[in-house]
């Protein structure tokens, strides 16, 4: 076997790459923009489900339908260069962060034009040009990574922060505890956003957790923690704006528990034996898209026809994305062994 390539570094002093001066936060998005993003995500997920049924998407597919307000509100409240580190139910986060819908759909199709060239799939979207540092499929396993990214920014002296999305199922894992403690004791610039959709697969939070108010767990580490209505995108946006500003000052981490609900099964294979139709119906009435639409109409910010136009925009966006995915080539078979290690061409 050949000696593996290790990029030769010379013995000159190395310094930390300083980040470019932080770009001003994009002008705060208005409610219409938030609504459009949620509609885009919803449509995208519906199409993904359809493509799964048609065998275009394989493996595990976890839909974000019902939880759109969480990622949409949270990510709109962050700076574009703040890191996103999230779980496997992450299409919504990716779209909210501005990843190209076509490249995300292509990834679900396993195509070479996908955000990770068809290698990652639905659970492992990455686009570092957008500071989107990945979807991860080991429950809570990404929390230490979020701490590490935050540590690096603290070390470099930037004011970039990390948003770490986790599920309610994460909170009983050991790594949740280790990460919260480390973040607190080292005052790391990370905001943990827990999407408490009440279930981890088919297990209701209250059946397996000693403390069901998750944000109180975070308080036990001396972390600023809050609970928010995760079905309300405006509330999400406000809470994350406030907490992110605090985290950005270097005072240490924050924790936000967003109460929400997924309208579909855990994954495409879920028979949903563990919850009643009534419970799902109850939550569907709180649909974040319907809620905001109705509010905006009631306030006369928009008209019904605007809504239809927005929906049409989502439809087109997703249709185009799907066509792009369909038309894209598979990754070449001879790429199989590439990028396990650094290659000379990378250096």
């Amino acid at each position: 076997m050949a000696t593996r390539f290790i990029s030769g570094r010379s013995d000159v002093a190395r310094s930390v790459d300083k980040q470019p001066a932080a770009s001003a936060r994009d002008a705060a998005p208005g409610p219409i923009a938030l609504l459009q993003t949620m509609m885009n995500i919803r449509r995208f997920e519906e199409k993904a489900a359809e493509m799964y049924a048609r065998g275009k998407i394989k493996g595990f597919l976890h839909l974000y339908i019902g939880q759109e307000a969480v990622a949409t509100g949270a990510i709109a409240a962050l700076r574009g260069d703040d890191y996103i580190v999230t779980h496997y139910r992450e299409h919504g986060h990716a779209l909210a962060r501005g990843l190209e819908p076509g490249r995300v759909m292509a990834e679900l199709f396993g195509k070479s034009t996908g955000v990770t060239g068809g290698r990652g799939g639905s659970m492992h979207l990455f686009d570092i040009s957008k500071s989107f540092f990945g979807g991860y499929a080991i429950v809570a396993g990404h929390m230490p990574l979020a701490c590490g990214l935050a540590l690096a920014e603290q070390y470099k002296g930037t004011n970039r922060i990390v948003a770490n999305f986790i599920g309610d199922g994460s909170v009983n894992e050991g790594e949740f505890h280790e990460a919260l403690n480390l973040a607190s004791v080292w005052k790391l610039p990370v905001i943990f956003i827990c999407e408490n959709n009440l279930y981890g697969m088919g297990t209701a939070m209250r059946r397996v957790s000693a403390l069901v108010e998750i944000y109180k767990r975070a308080e036990a580490y001396g972390i600023d923690a809050e609970q928010v209505d995760g079905m309300d995108v405006i509330a999400m946006h406000a809470a994350v704006s406030r907490l992110a500003a605090k985290v950005r000052t270097g005072e240490g981490p924050a924790f936000l528990e967003a109460i929400c609900f997924r309208f579909r099964g855990h994954s495409m294979a879920d028979a949903e034996l563990y919850r009643t139709k009534g419970e799902v119906e109850h939550w569907r009435k709180l649909d974040p898209i319907t809620q905001l639409s109705q509010q905006l109409i009631a306030e006369k910010t928009i008209k019904k026809t605007d809504l239809a136009a927005m929906q049409a925009r989502s439809d087109t966006l997703v249709a185009d994305a799907t066509t792009f995915a369909e038309d894209s080539p598979n990754p070449p078979l001879d790429s199989l062994m590439r990028h396990v290690y650094q290659e000379p061409a990378d250096a």
Binding site: S122, H124, V208
Partner: protein, 325 residues
């Protein structure tokens, strides 16, 4: 004999144990209300109640550790860790406690625990969900490592696992759950350390387990059409390993190939090759070969994934190159 699936065979063994041994209980993530992520325990919660079928938090280390503790106290727990990938979070418990306690305590304590997990690749689940780490467990003294390939194996080996007074890592291959085969209704046990010579032949020995056994078997059928007569061994358990069966076969065929989904480098195939060449050196007409997974994290794309896994065509090509040697 009735034909049932691999899934159903496992269910039969578990139900039998729950019905006949009060010391047996099951714990795991989503084995109750959800019915098991591979539907193996569907309906058990309703049938046996919360005492015997325990949904746990997502916390692999404490679930496995609690299984070890309960086993030390004389119970007979079965812990499901859903997939082998998540067992990494409990591996300290398995290696530093379960496997060592009998020895460390000078035989005062034992750990009669069954740990079930689904392994293997091929369903496009991506890099973090497609591992085959059975070689790691087989490396650890104090553990039994079982990898059933057929419904018949699955029931008989799982029944035997519950007789073991030592920890058993029971690895089910995800792709096999729907596979059907003949399985007696009544309980039976298959001994650990006894492989099944599923096809006799004289030209080459193909050694597989779990999913890879079937590839070996199908390749053997195709080879027969070309006049090459392959013997196929289904290992059933990796630890203990039935070296007698392997060596007996190789002394007859003078050639051997190990087939495995796992990464080749440092994998279990190397152990088998090392044993064969050590004990049957003069009987070998060709080196022992391995037809293994590529040494890469698993890609999602279906064609890439298949390219990363051993294929029947690869086995056939290898056999032909060896027979011609």
């Amino acid at each position: 004999m009735p034909e049932i699936t691999y899934r159903e065979a496992i269910r039969q063994a578990l139900r039998y144990q729950l019905q006949h041994d009060e010391r047996v209980f099951l714990m795991g993530e989503d084995i109750g209300a959800y019915g098991g992520s591979y539907a193996v325990t569907k309906g058990f919660l309703e049938e046996f109640g919360e005492k015997r079928v325990k949904d746990t938090p997502i916390a692999e280390s404490v679930i496995v550790g609690a299984g070890i503790g309960a086993a030390m106290a004389g119970l007979k727990p079965m812990v499901e860790v859903m997939t082998i990938n998540f067992s990494l979070l409990a591996i300290d418990q398995i290696v530093n406690n379960a496997s060592k306690l009998r020895y460390m305590s000078n035989n005062q304590v034992s750990v009669p625990l069954v740990i079930r997990m689904a392994g293997g690749a091929g369903s496009q689940l991506g890099a973090q969900h497609s591992q085959s780490l059975e070689s790691w467990y087989a490396h650890v003294p104090g553990l039994h490592v079982v990898a059933p390939a057929t419904p018949y194996d699955a029931k008989g080996l799982l029944m035997a696992a519950f007789d073991s007074e030592d920890p058993v890592i029971f690895i089910e291959h995800t792709a096999l759950y729907p596979m059907k085969g003949e399985v007696p209704d009544e309980p039976y046990r298959l001994p650990f350390g006894k492989a099944d010579v599923a096809r006799t032949g004289k030209d080459v020995t193909l050694i597989g387990y779990g999913g890879s056994f079937h590839q070996a078997f199908r390749a053997a059928k195709q080879l027969a059409a070309d006049g090459i007569d392959a013997e196929v061994i289904n290992l059933r358990t990796l630890s203990p390993l039935d070296t007698d069966a392997i060596l007996t076969s190789v002394r007859k065929t003078n050639r051997a190939i190990v087939i495995e989904d796992d990464w080749q480098f440092g994998g279990f195939g190397g152990e088998i090759a090392a044993i064969i060449q050590e004990h049957a050196f003069d009987d070998l007409d060709a080196p022992v070969m391995r037809c293994s997974g590529a040494n890469i994290p698993m890609p999602y794309n279906g064609a890439l994934e298949q390219a990363a896994l051993p294929q029947e065509a690869d086995i056939i090509r290898l056999v032909k190159s060896m027979v011609q040697r």
